[in-house]
């Protein structure tokens, strides 16, 4: 598994896409931090960028990579290596590469300009989102034999979690506005890693005061140690669950 991950990383590092991604993040982060004197304001802007770009790049890059590595996977499948190690090795390799890019592109600027707990939470959220969207990418790559369909499905997943889901949430909130929805809202946030990631960061920032009474409810929940454990484990679920499904499919997949 680790050897496979090593070769995957070796392959990705030469693809230049990863370097471009790191540089892009680095550029965005530095320009946001230098534009604003108040580092927490920059963190908010950076968060908005991270919440859109990181899932998108993670899922599309991983999906394309998976299809491009198909030959490599074919080669490995005929070897005395278990399918799980092959897929997990691929996952590990892609993950380490993308996390490194994020660490360089966002981690370094955050370390320089905002080395506080909010910056840390932003990084943790970014890491978790990267991993869960790689996981989702593996799911769609394994589920779809055709490359175009696989990338299409990944794009749809990203669009769903970035836009459609929140639209649905608005619709639900609108329909049940009369009812007490505190718990429902926390549940709704749990079903979308992007929402969850964003809320954790906002809770860490002073901005929660803006949220008024409802914000206080969220803050009470997400600020408590139970809330932190809860959100971390939900994030973990979002990483493990799609990967497990991908693994199940991949074990029986005909190559």
């Amino acid at each position: 598994m680790f050897k496979i991950a090593k070769y995957v990383m070796y392959d990705i590092l030469r693809s230049k896409v990863l370097i471009a991604y790191s540089l892009f993040l680095l550029l965005v982060s530095f320009s946001l931090f230098s534009m604003e004197e108040n580092s927490s304001k920059s963190l908010i802007s950076l968060m908005s960028v991270v919440m859109i770009i990181v899932p998108l790049v993670s899922i599309i890059f991983s999906t394309t990579y998976f299809y491009n590595a198909y030959q490599f996977i074919e080669l490995l499948v005929a070897q005395p290596i278990s399918r799980s190690s092959i897929l997990l090795g691929e996952f590990l390799g892609v993950s380490v590469s993308l996390l490194t890019a994020l660490l360089i592109g966002v981690g370094i600027p955050v370390l320089i300009y905002a080395p506080d707990s909010t910056g840390l939470v932003l990084m943790i959220s970014g890491f978790a989102l990267t991993l869960s969207f790689i996981s989702l990418a593996f799911f769609s790559s394994v589920a779809m034999r055709d490359k175009a369909k696989g990338i299409g499905m990944s794009l749809m997943l990203w669009f769903y979690f970035s836009v459609i889901y929140d639209g649905l949430v608005l619709g639900i909130l609108f329909s049940f506005n009369e009812y007490p929805l505190e718990k429902a809202v926390i549940a709704l946030a749990s079903f979308n890693p992007i929402d969850l990631g964003r809320i954790i960061i906002l809770m860490k920032m002073d901005i929660s005061a803006l949220m008024g009474l409802t914000g206080a409810v969220y803050k009470q929940f997400f600020g408590s140690s139970f809330g932190i454990i809860y959100s971390l484990s939900i994030m973990l679920m979002w990483i493990i669950f799609p990967l497990l499904i991908a693994l199940r499919i991949f074990r029986k997949k005909n190559l």
Binding site: S48, S162, L170, L181, A209, Y218
Partner: protein, 412 residues
């Protein structure tokens, strides 16, 4: 230095009245207690209190005397009752360090209470651990200047107000520093007062709070880090110039709350880092001009029951939401403001944008209607919705718009 000059002046003045004498109070002097000095004193006498600690439980000043402290003598109420109570006109209190009034809910125990008096001056005093600081009731033409009051039970809710005025007229409050009280400055039925250059901070409720206090002027004050901000109610003819409202951040905090305020002018003030810069309810005919709103959660929250208010030449920058409301506004006018979120153009180069700006975003309307939607704050979807609404307006109030938004910020 100031107090020294003043005391010299007062001494000089007292010399002109041949019958006026000066009584010196100190531990080695003939007179060792302030209360004894007051018994000995006649009208127009001066009492000079030297450095030391003097017990003063509910000491009543019924003669027109001047009491001057040298090197801040401590006047200690021993938490038994009020410390000093002025019940005569023309009394001057200066350079005293008032400590330890009683606390309680039955009576508003004060460090210095002034009752039914005129021309009283309270200058350069320090107040510490007093329930209320300086309390003026039914008095006129008084001056409260250069005092510093630190609330009793600092940081705890069990404390009164820094300066309280009740049924007063023509009071000048300047250069005071109020902290750690319930309200920094509190007025009820105080008219024609001038409040200038005060600093009210870290009060656990309001920096400034008044009701039924018409025709007062507030200039160059700073209200910061107060629990809720500044709340003013049921008053007309308020004028606020060059004040700073900042860092009032919390679930229900704001820079300035205007509730049932009318015919007032709010000009050249700065509102920064407040959860809400200005929130207005039932307030009519108010002119907001040349104010700076920066880095607030909401710059303005204007409820639909506000009528005929004018917002002109203000700057709105780096606020999360520029404005929010709960319905259509009537007869309010927004003109010549600068909004950093404005994305219009200026073809005729008159520095005024050619298309109106709508400061209320769709999302702020949504939150107003369904607070739970706050979970989508800063999400991509919300960004898309706001942009869509900007290009094809449909939901945000038609009336809430600036018809002549500026292209560049005003230099204020």
């Amino acid at each position: 230095m100031k107090s020294l000059a003043l005391s010299c002046f007062l001494l000089l003045v007292s010399c002109f009245f041949s019958e006026a004498k000066t009584i010196i109070v100190c531990s080695e002097c003939k007179v060792t207690q302030l209360t004894t000095a007051l018994d000995l004193a006649a009208d127009f006498d001066t009492i000079l209190v030297k450095k030391g600690i003097y017990t003063s439980v509910n000491t009543e000043i019924k003669k027109q005397v001047v009491i001057i402290g040298e090197n801040y003598p401590v006047i200690d109420g021993q938490e038994k009752d009020e410390v000093l109570v002025v019940k005569a006109d023309n009394v001057i209190l200066s350079g005293l360090w008032i400590k330890n009034s009683k606390r309680g809910s039955m009576k508003d125990y004060a460090g210095i209470r002034v009752v039914d008096s005129r021309n009283v001056k309270i200058i350069n005093c320090k107040l510490e651990n007093t329930f209320f600081g300086i309390y003026l009731a039914n008095s006129k033409n008084c001056l409260i200047s250069g005092n510093h009051s630190k609330g009793a039970n600092y940081g705890n809710s069990d404390t009164g107000n820094g300066v309280q005025l009740w049924k007063c007229d023509s009071i000048k409050i300047e250069n005071n520093h109020m902290e750690g009280h319930r309200d920094g400055i509190y007025f009820e039925f105080a008219h024609f007062c001038l409040i200038e250059k005060n600093l009210c901070e870290k009060n656990f409720r309001y920096g400034l709070h008044f009701m039924f206090s018409d025709s007062d002027v507030y200039r160059k004050n700073t209200f910061q880090n107060n629990g809720t901000g500044v709340a003013v109610m049921y008053t007309k003819n308020v004028e606020m110039y060059d004040n700073i409202f900042r860092n009032n951040w919390g679930d229900a905090a704001y820079g300035l709350l205007l509730k049932d305020i009318s015919n007032s002018i709010i000009e050249r003030n700065t509102f920064t880092n407040n959860t809400v810069g200005v929130t207005m309810e039932g307030s009519n005919s108010i002119t907001f001009s040349k104010n700076n709103f920066a880095s607030n959660g909401y710059a303005l929250k204007v409820m639909a029951n506000c009528i005929r208010d004018t917002f002109m030449y203000n700057n709105f920058t780096a606020n999360t939401f520029d404005a929010a409301t709960n319905g259509e506004l009537r007869e309010n006018s927004f003109k010549y403001n600068y909004w950093d979120k404005y994305e219009g153009y200026d073809l005729n180069r008159d520095k005024i944008g050619d298309i109106p700006f709508r400061p209320v975003s769709l999302y702020s309307m949504i939150i107003e209607q369904m607070p739970y939607a706050v979970m989508l704050l800063r999400s991509f979807t919300v960004e898309i919705l706001n942009r869509a609404e900007k290009s094809i307006p449909g939901i945000v109030p038609e009336t809430f718009q600036d018809y002549a938004p500026m292209m560049k910020p005003h230099s204020l």
